[in-house]
Symmetry: C2
Subunit: 138 residues, 2 copies
Amino acid sequence: MSDLLERLRGRGWRMTAQRRVVAEVLAGDHVHLTADEVHARAVAKLPEISRATVYNTLGELVTLGEVLEVSTDKRAKRYDPNAHRPHHHLVCAQCGAIRDVHPTGNPMADLPDSERFGFTVSDVEVTYRGTCPNCAKA
Amino acid sequence: MSDLLERLRGRGWRMTAQRRVVAEVLAGDHVHLTADEVHARAVAKLPEISRATVYNTLGELVTLGEVLEVSTDKRAKRYDPNAHRPHHHLVCAQCGAIRDVHPTGNPMADLPDSERFGFTVSDVEVTYRGTCPNCAKA
DNA sequence: GACTTTAGTTGGACAAAGTCCAGTATAGCT
DNA sequence: AGCTATACTGGACTTTGTCCAACTAAAGTC
């Protein structure tokens, strides 16, 4: 993860305690956090960090392409640090659990020109929905 | 569209002026409205209708499968009355414009069992992102 | 190591989207 | 026409996110 920090410094990022903490939180094993969850964990490591800073930092990381914003239809956006391995998501409609998945096939190729309406298409996001084993039991 | 109302009545829906108005708004040619936009148009036809009712009604329509909830990553959810023809979406990252698209291929078949983690997968949503002709010009 | 510059942070106010609830109205049945 | 469960209302509340002016500190320079 410190390579992330290196990369960012290389791009002119000023290295601050706050940014380091946010990066550390995302690097942890709990992926797909909401902004508020990131904030909560960041506060645990650096009590004075403000919500605004967490939002700013997440926004910057997304802009720089280091983190993905995932909007499953739950209320809050979630942040996925796994930005460099392309993947899609499988979401439990009941509990909201999210898993990364790697479907075969290339959905990009499945959109013929006649269906592009003059858009320049740069990205596809595929979300599978269903019920996770846990919720299926209940 | 009145067939929609018929269908709903068949399912035990009580027919009220408010619900009729919401259904009419969705039947109009402006697809992909936000809840607030639906409310605004509903008010034009029935001034006393409340926001809560619009939210309730939209939620019921979604539950009944008559309307789709689309969460592009704009702030508000959008409601797509085109629920009976399966389709996906193409979104302009700049202005948020949405078009319905019909890709070839079947993304459902592209998720091997080994990638399902025990989930029962019932639905796929594909969102293409890009820049629309209008925004490309500017 | 102190100084300066300028990017970054803070916290509180604000805004937008959505939910909840107690009280009231009304559709559909008889 | 009257009854009753269902639906509607409007306002308070919550959640998620944005904005801004004042303050702080990172990194470069000497």
